[in-house]
Amino acid sequence: MTALFPAQRRAWDTIEGKGIMTMGMTLMEGNEAVAWGALAAGCRFFAGYPITPATSILSTMQGILPPVGGIVVQGEDEIASTGYCLGASMAGMKAMTATSGPGISLYSEHISFAIAAEIPLVIVNVQRLGPSTGSATRGADGDVQFMRWGNSGGIPIICLAPVDIKDCYQLTAHAFNLAEEFRTPVFVASNKEIGMTRDSVDLSTLELPKPIDRLGPEQGRDYLPFRPLPGKDIPGFAPIGGPVISRQTSSTHGEQGYITIIPDEIGEVVERLQRKINSQADRLAIYELDEEESAEQLLITYGVTTRAARVAVRNLRAKGEKVSHLTLKTLWPVPRKVISQAAAKVKQVLVVEMNTGQYVREVLQVVRDKPVNFFGLMSGRLISPAEIVKACKKETHHE
């Protein structure tokens, strides 16, 4: 992981007086680790609708949030669940929701709202096999482009992809910080194969970033809800219900938060919404690069596929093949610099994904001077190390 997020304390310090001894590992679903990560990051509002494979986030939150004064609501549907979160977030609480593909479909209008109105929100998408209702108990990474583009307007979001249970815990905490800092929806792109797989873990030994809170209004000036703070692309936040009157709207708005149809005013906001995220892409890049000297091929993976890829890379190297492996944990914004620097040292790139070829489109945008190959599977099972080895060899022999 990059040094961008220095670990500053043990996770459990956030819950008052609850220091814990490291006793050993327990068996826990990735989904449960997401919930504990959220709690440690300061999440105090959760709303969701039951859906396999994300339900155990809802049930874990129901168990751990109300006792610390937090609120968990089971919405009447996914639209309501995100609506509750947006209201609570605007009223100052750190909020999270969790679902899977069919729920993300219903979240769409509120994802757009959160983007447009700059409302911090963490959205966990425990991806399952699509299209449509697909297979509730089969994994996939088929929503990678959907999460990026499933909003009206096509404005950027932030998306982090966990590889394993530790990531579920730590990246969820990072997701909250990013949502707060950037006032934007942040996706945690999990997968049934991580969310519903129990794994051995000792959360108390994992370090988390120090929680960040959204910045308040600029001092000494009248509050305008959408006026960027000096030197920043992000407006200061005054909660609905606080002493300063705060306006919030899903309509195209100027700094005052009133609907506007003036093209210059609209253009400025749209430009800022893109700039606030895209200009920070390098800083937002979370990744693992396992580089081999004079590697010919760069393997790029994310999510659970990374785990098979690590085995594949070990096996390839054991047979003398030279291969580097880049795992992207930030999918959006695209870590262009990380990809291009890693790709610069090899002759060709192979992207392996649990879908029909989604993120490879982004890699193709970045790596334009050498072959970018793709191997994918979308049939309800994991890609195996042997299949990745085969794909690596096949592409190498193309030359």
């Binding site: 459990w12 819950i15 609850k18 814990i20 490291t22 006793m23 050993g24 590992m25 327990t26 068996l27 826990m28 504990w36 709690l39 509002f45 168990g63 006792p67 610390v68 004064g69 609120i71 919405g75 009447e76 639209i79 309501a80 995100t82 609506g83 509750y84 979160c85 947006l86 209201g87 609570a88 605007m90 009223a91 100052g92 609480m93 509120h110 709202f113 194969e193 519903m196 797989t197 129990r198 794994d199 051995s200 000792d202 959360l203 609905i240 219900g241 606080g242 009157i245 705060s246 919030q248 709207t249 899903s250 009133y258 659970v304 785990r307 690590r310 085995v311 099972r381 994991l382 195996s384």
Partner: protein
């Protein structure tokens, strides 16, 4: 009561069509706020889409304006986070229709929100299309469609759904201000439907006057404020009451490794059974045994949505190092305990090689393979099917590999307590004796 200043926004004067009854509602609501001595920061206006969606801009209060039909959802989140705030929602008959599920939920939930339904019988903003409340005999911008559907009676629906405060008014009633004050002061979910004129669309093609609305409402009757049968504790206060009694969460306790690592390479175990055989629990016990032996463990479960019927399968990987690939290469140990699970995994069994051991419950047919098969007559040992998965762990413990007796018993002691522990140890005894 001291009257506060008007909360209408001088920079954003109301901009409704001439004769639109929304104007009356706006002025009456402002008057109600004043009479209640409320200031801007004490109120949040949450508005829906359509002409009623302009309300938030006309007030100097907190405001949230979002998507069509969803105003109640934002209001709910706001109110739960800010329990002292007066949250007033305005929506039209359009929002009522598209947000039907949210309306019913709000009625059932009884959070302290005030909902004003500004019913003007059509979609004014988009050209006068029919809504959920358009009368069948009206002439609107939807051709004959409104003639085919029955309009929804707001007060009946919200009353049936459990709203504890329901009133219907004409936008021209003299007690509008007082009614709003009662609704806002009511501690719970209150709904006031205000029937009015859409002069821009509806009344251009349909005869409707304030007098006609008032006469119709007078003839109809219906609830006027608190509904005795629906009085109950307000949601947020009930939520706080329930939460206050809950124990603070602690991270699940881990299992300190107390036994030496039994294996130097990754091992895969598959338990194939049927619903009701405690397959998943047995898998968990094996997982705990692994943790007690200092191994890393993953566990995946498969079962149909009808959890009490059909197959139940659990797959474990036990590894002295971090488990990387969580899929299965080839399980070294397969427990074949019921035809349901075996049928689900026939290919895996058939492909099993000489290094695989299958513990088969007597009477369960399995595909031919090169695996070594240990058949156990659990029935003859006096074991009920529900205990076969656990019993198969005891069989496994006889093979000196991942498990031994000591580790299995220690895992059971971690997982169970009291009578359940005694019963599970008795199952193990029946295999080992």
């Amino acid at each position: 009561m001291n009257s506060a200043a008007s909360l209408l926004n001088p920079e954003r004067p109301p901009a409704f069509c001439a004769g639109c009854s929304h104007q009356n509602v706006l002025v009456a609501l402002d008057k109600a706020f004043q009479n209640m001595g409320l200031t801007g920061p004490q109120i949040c206006m949450v508005s829906d889409i359509g002409c009623s969606g302009l309300f938030d801009t006309f007030f100097r209060t907190h405001a949230m304006h979002g998507l069509h039909g969803r105003a109640l959802t934002y209001a709910t989140g706001i109110k739960l986070a800010q329990p002292d705030l007066n949250v007033v929602v305005t929506m039209g008959d359009g929002g009522l229709g598209i947000g039907g599920a949210h309306l019913l939920s709000a009625c059932r939930r009884n959070l302290d929100l005030t909902l004003l339904v500004l019913n003007n019988f059509n979609f004014g903003m988009t050209g006068g299309q029919y809504s959920a409340t358009t009368p069948p005999d009206a002439s609107v911008g939807s051709g004959f469609l409104n003639r085919l559907e029955r309009p929804l009676e707001v007060s009946e629906v919200v009353s049936a759904a459990g709203a504890p405060f329901v009133a219907t008014r004409s936008g021209y009633d003299s007690d509008l201000v007082e009614t709003f004050q009662r609704a806002i002061a009511f501690k719970g979910f209150s709904v006031v439907e205000i029937q009015g004129l859409c002069t821009g669309r509806y009344t251009r093609r349909n005869k409707l006057t304030p007098k006609m609305i008032q006469e119709k409402l007078a003839a109809k009757g219906g609830p006027d404020g608190e509904i005795a049968a629906s009085q109950r504790e307000e949601y947020a206060s009930a939520y706080r009451r329930e939460s206050a009694e809950l124990k603070k969460p602690t991270l699940p306790e881990g299992f300190a490794p107390i036994f030496p690592k039994p294996i130097s390479e990754r091992a895969e175990v598959m338990v194939l059974g049927a619903a009701g055989m405690r397959i998943q629990t047995a898998g968990e016990v094996l997982g705990i045994a692994g943790l007690l032996s200092g191994l890393r463990v993953t566990q995946k479960s498969s079962y149909p949505i009808t959890v009490l019927r059909g197959m139940s399968v659990t797959e474990l990987i036990l590894d002295p190092e971090e488990v990387d690939y969580t899929g299965s290469y080839a399980p070294g140990l397969i427990m074949a305990l019921a035809p349901e699970g075996v049928n689900y995994s026939r290919k895996v069994i058939a492909a099993a090689g000489e290094s695989t051991t299958i513990i088969r419950a007597e009477g369960v047919d399995i595909p031919d393979s090169k695996a070594k098969v240990i058949s156990v007559d659990f029935k003859a040992k006096g074991l009920k099917q529900v205990d076969w998965a656990l019993a198969s762990l005891a069989v496994m413990a006889k093979i000196p590999h991942i498990l031994n007796q000591k580790v299995l018993r220690a895992a059971l002691e971690q997982r169970f307590k009291g009578k359940v522990l005694d019963a599970s140890l008795a199952v193990v005894d029946k295999i080992t004796e």
